[in-house]
Subunit: 330 residues, 2 copies
């Protein structure tokens, strides 16, 4: 099943079911007005949403309409929580080596994870507006994520995968000029992590077939920067599965239905698959050539991210520019 | 004006107006069903809520009823964001000195702030349920906070105070055994910061009179642990005002209406005022006696927090136990 949220002037948008090929959509209002409300009442909503999805795929919904990703918000424009791991250790090790950072304690055995803002997620084609006056080190991070149902406190890893309701694809926008200072405070990322963006469609795990395996998304994530190949790392090299990340996030708290857990930048060893963020490519350049060569993003630059299964798009496409935010007037 | 949220089985509860003396309450459903919805439409809701408040104070609301803090949820049981500063530098310096921590860069000039979970705030009398199996170093942190309207990205400090709609009083529950490792990762607090609790009533700044000054809450915060005095530090020694904290949080993002910004543990120099958290008292003990003497909380322990103005309670009382969460069954 594939679900999306269309913009309608309200914070949470309106829920639609989208056909597997992402061509058609059908309003889900009669089942649930928003994706968050559906997730909060998933046991009641899942079956009728799936039934609508099956009819949509067979062309059997007269009131269906063309699905326009330009009109899509993030599947959850505001989510209860956003906890983002860094579960591809290859990425972290490259960053440590290149920039001579102190090793993170227990990096191989305990996931690292930060809490991000979840109240203002961007849609797949939305401009990423950022303060105009600084060299911020604007970067993208291509990630996969899961949306969970309500997870009880102290949920162990062995029980965690059952709470995965939907899979999503994310651009975790990052400001590299601000990250190191925030890491050194020990309080973690805040200004370095503005609003994240989401591919238009959230999908149930069964849509991936065998590519959803060990609580990981075994798909290449194709990244283009201004129309040029940047990388296509595969999610299978994730060192902690989403089950482990959910258990980590829920260790001392409940997770409300609709919480989003991110994988961190998808990253593969060896370098042939390229990178899913500029910082990692700069790390590789620093290690191999002594200095970074690839600049961070400038205003007007575009990033495109897509995962495909047997040639067909899974989550749809993130394709967005970074732009300067308007200056505030008194 | 004083506002509270009563539990009604729904996540966001129901909005009530509370009399200045916290004795009576009146349903605000005809104006806004929840505090979040009121904050999202504040320009429409503020005047009728204030009118209801004035009538309640003069005994002129026939349908009013006794206000029972036991029935109160947090004023915002789920808020869009929770960004918690550490704006009392005295607290941070004591912690650094006692535990030989590396100094935080720019600590005197740039606020430190972490992003916490905002989807599951606790009410003033709710038990704080925590995983049963570990020595977690359970601690409270007595804080003040502000609830803002929608703040635009890159809002400068000089414009920030205008977005303060409500003041709140907070117990930022903290697990000290988990904090140091999370600080060392650079990704910040996650497991170390379970759900925070709130005093029953959120108040507009005018309720404080001169005690709301320089965007700081100039009130003693009285803390008792198991019925014994623990401290009464005053909020006036905050080194960064809430205007600065709002500007810090909004530097690279919009803040949705209803975002909560915290002061960090209220802390006064000199020691005579005691402390608003156990960790700080342990730091003082370590500095003066070579080792901490005060233990962290055990299950069953109670903490009480209250701020008063001319002898009368302002936000009502946080009075809650810590208890072990039930163990999960497969």
């Amino acid at each position: 099943m594939k679900l999306a949220t269309l913009k309608n002037g309200h914070k949470d948008g309106r829920l639609v079911v989208v056909s597997r090929d992402l061509r058609r959509a059908a309003d889900a209002l009669a089942i649930a007005p928003t994706l968050l409300s559906a997730l909060e009442d998933w046991s009641r909503c899942e079956a009728p949403l799936r039934a609508l999805y099956e009819r949509l795929n067979t062309g059997d919904v007269p009131a269906s309409f063309d699905f326009d990703p330009q009109q899509a918000a993030a599947p959850l424009p505001r989510a209860p929580q956003w906890c983002d791991g860094s579960a591809f250790l290859n990425h972290g090790r490259l960053m440590e080596t290149a920039f001579n950072m102190a090793p993170i304690p227990d990096f191989d055995t305990v996931p690292v994870m930060y809490q991000g803002a979840s109240d203002d997620f961007l849609g797949p084609c939305d401009d990423v507006a950022l303060p105009p006056e600084e060299a911020l080190g604007i970067d993208f991070e291509g990630e996969f994520g899961v949306v969970v149902g309500e997870v009880p406190m102290a949920c162990p890893q062995r029980l965690a995968a059952r709470y995965v309701k939907l899979l999503v694809q994310i651009n975790d926008v990052s400001l590299r000029a601000l990250g190191p200072r925030e890491m050194k405070t020990g309080f973690g990322f805040l200004q370095a992590k503005p609003s994240s963006s989401f591919a238009p469609v959230a999908v149930t795990p069964d849509e991936l077939g065998d590519a959803w395996c060990d609580a990981k998304v075994h798909l290449d994530l194709h990244i283009e920067l201004n129309g040029a190949w940047f990388g296509h790392p595969n999610g299978r090299e994730m060192n902690f599965g989403f089950d482990r990340l959910i258990a980590h996030a829920a260790a001392t708290r409940r997770l409300s239905a609709g919480t989003v857990i991110g994988s961190g930048t998808v990253s593969n060893a060896g370098g042939a698959a390229g990178s899913a963020c500029i910082a990692e490519r700069r790390a590789i350049e620093t290690i191999s050539r002594g200095a970074p060569r690839t600049p961070f993003m400038s205003f007007g630059d575009r990033v495109r991210m897509e995962a495909r299964l047997q040639g067909a798009t899974v989550f749809g496409v993130i394709d967005q520019r970074v732009v300067p935010a308007p200056t505030l007037k008194d």
